[in-house]
């Protein structure tokens, strides 16, 4: 596998055999390990996460009767506010808001805003890992969420892509069969 200087996502385009479709590994660098170490050292997370506020939104089709009957999409709006930032970690407070959008069907509520009851933190770090024949550098975010109205909590980790304008994107694979979750795309304010 040839692996060198593959950016912003995209990975195994380099390893493409004929007829193989590009698949991204969502890393910011993949290649020789000495170079990867240099990339990590030069890209501390405080340089990547340079804004004190980010806003982002994603679109979802959940598996519930109302969504199915009314073909409703749900938009989740997230605001991240800086809590602390060092060269090794950038931590943000999260507030989330949910609305339904999209349907104009008779008998269906088109637009509805739900009270914000999910809060938490998002902690960003720059990571280095060894692969079979190379090394990669990527940005990781650890989410810790909780409900303000119930005992619900959730913790999960995703990789983050940094686009060329400093905005952030993270994939969140969703279920098939007409259900989906778009990537979360954040802009720095």
């Amino acid at each position: 596998m040839v692996r060198r200087k593959i950016f912003g996502t995209i990975a195994a385009l380099s390893a493409l055999s004929v007829a193989q479709v590009a698949q991204a590994e969502n890393s910011i660098y993949q290649g020789p390990c000495d170079r990867a170490e240099q990339v990590k050292a030069n890209n501390t997370v405080d340089k990547i996460m340079k804004y004190s506020t980010y806003k982002g939104v994603s679109l979802h089709r959940f598996e519930d009767d109302l969504a199915a009957a009314c073909k409703l999409d749900t938009a989740i709006i997230r605001t991240l506010s800086l809590q602390s930032r060092t060269t090794t970690q950038a931590k943000y407070n999260l507030v989330r808001k949910t609305i339904t959008v999209g349907s104009q069907m008779e008998g269906c509520t088109d637009l509805k805003t739900y009270a914000s009851n999910t809060i938490g933190t998002a902690t960003f770090t720059t990571e280095f890992s060894r692969l079979a024949d190379s090394c990669e550098v990527y940005v990781k975010v650890a989410w810790d969420l909780r409900s303000t109205t119930s005992s619900w909590t959730s913790s999960f980790v995703t990789r983050v892509l940094v686009l060329n304008d400093g905005s952030l994107v993270m994939a969140q694979p969703g279920p098939a069969d007409g259900l989906y979750s778009t990537p979360i795309a954040f802009s720095g304010l």
């Binding site: 040839v2 200087k5 593959i6 950016f7 912003g8 996502t9 995209i10 990975a11 385009l13 380099s14 493409l16 055999s17 004929v18 007829a19 479709v21 590009a22 991204a24 969502n26 910011i28 660098y29 240099q38 990339v39 030069n42 890209n43 501390t44 340089k47 990547i48 806003k55 982002g56 939104v57 994603s58 679109l59 999409d73 938009a75 709006i77 808001k97 609305i99 959008v101 088109d110 637009l111 509805k112 550098v137 892509l161 940094v162 686009l163 060329n164 304008d165 400093g166 905005s167 994107v169 994939a171 007409g178 989906y180 979750s181 778009t182 990537p183 795309a185 954040f186 802009s187 304010l189």
Partner: protein
């Protein structure tokens, strides 16, 4: 988003000088030119844009008076439907609907849909360009939009798209500073 020809930027993860923060070129490959052309040949656009329908939502602050008064962000709901697909170009029809989402200010505490509907087309291709002695392969999207409620308004912009590892794709929409912004467009295939 209402500006014309916002061109995908070029930053330089490629360059990666010491002390330089990671900035993606939003390219899908960057390296030796012979390899770049091989990558392009092996990645026809119809294998990258493999869904017949994509959906996305994006958030914006344009600086309009109503936004300031209500501290309101605008939300665009996007839907792409496949119209043609070849190895060199994939085309979709575009439908875009706009929503205001206002903060909890008494007279602005509502969510509503605008009457207009933006429609148009977007064409996706793959391209190769040379930069700093290397070649890069990228996905290019060219958007042509009109407004069904305003015959005089036409939107046109072109940008690089980045395909993620789950088949979704995103593109940055550089926005103005000073509290105004356009979040990236992040599309998922929905069938």
């Amino acid at each position: 988003m209402r500006n014309k020809h916002v061109i995908g930027g070029m930053a330089a993860l490629a360059a990666l000088c010491a002390s330089q923060a990671a900035q993606a070129n939003n390219a899908i490959y960057q390296g030796e030119c012979s390899r770049a052309y091989q990558v392009k040949t092996n990645s026809p656009i119809n294998t990258l844009m493999k869904h017949s329908k994509y959906k996305a939502v994006s958030m914006h602050r344009f600086g309009e008076e109503s936004e300031k008064r209500c501290d309101a962000d605008k939300i665009f709901h996007w839907e792409l439907t496949l119209t043609s697909s070849t190895t060199s170009m994939v085309s979709y029809s575009v439908k875009r609907k706009e929503f205001y989402f206002s903060k909890n200010v008494p007279t602005c505490d509502r969510l509503y849909s605008l009457n207009n509907s933006v429609i148009g087309t977007v064409n996706f291709t793959t391209g190769v360009s040379e930069a700093n002695g290397l070649c890069e392969v990228y996905i290019w999207s060219d958007w042509q939009l009109t407004d069904t409620a305003n015959a005089n308004w036409k939107g046109a912009f072109a940008n690089r798209s980045v395909v993620m590892n789950d088949g979704s794709f995103v593109q940055a929409q550089p926005g103005p500073s000073g509290g105004l912004f356009n979040t990236p467009l992040a599309f998922s295939g929905v069938n």
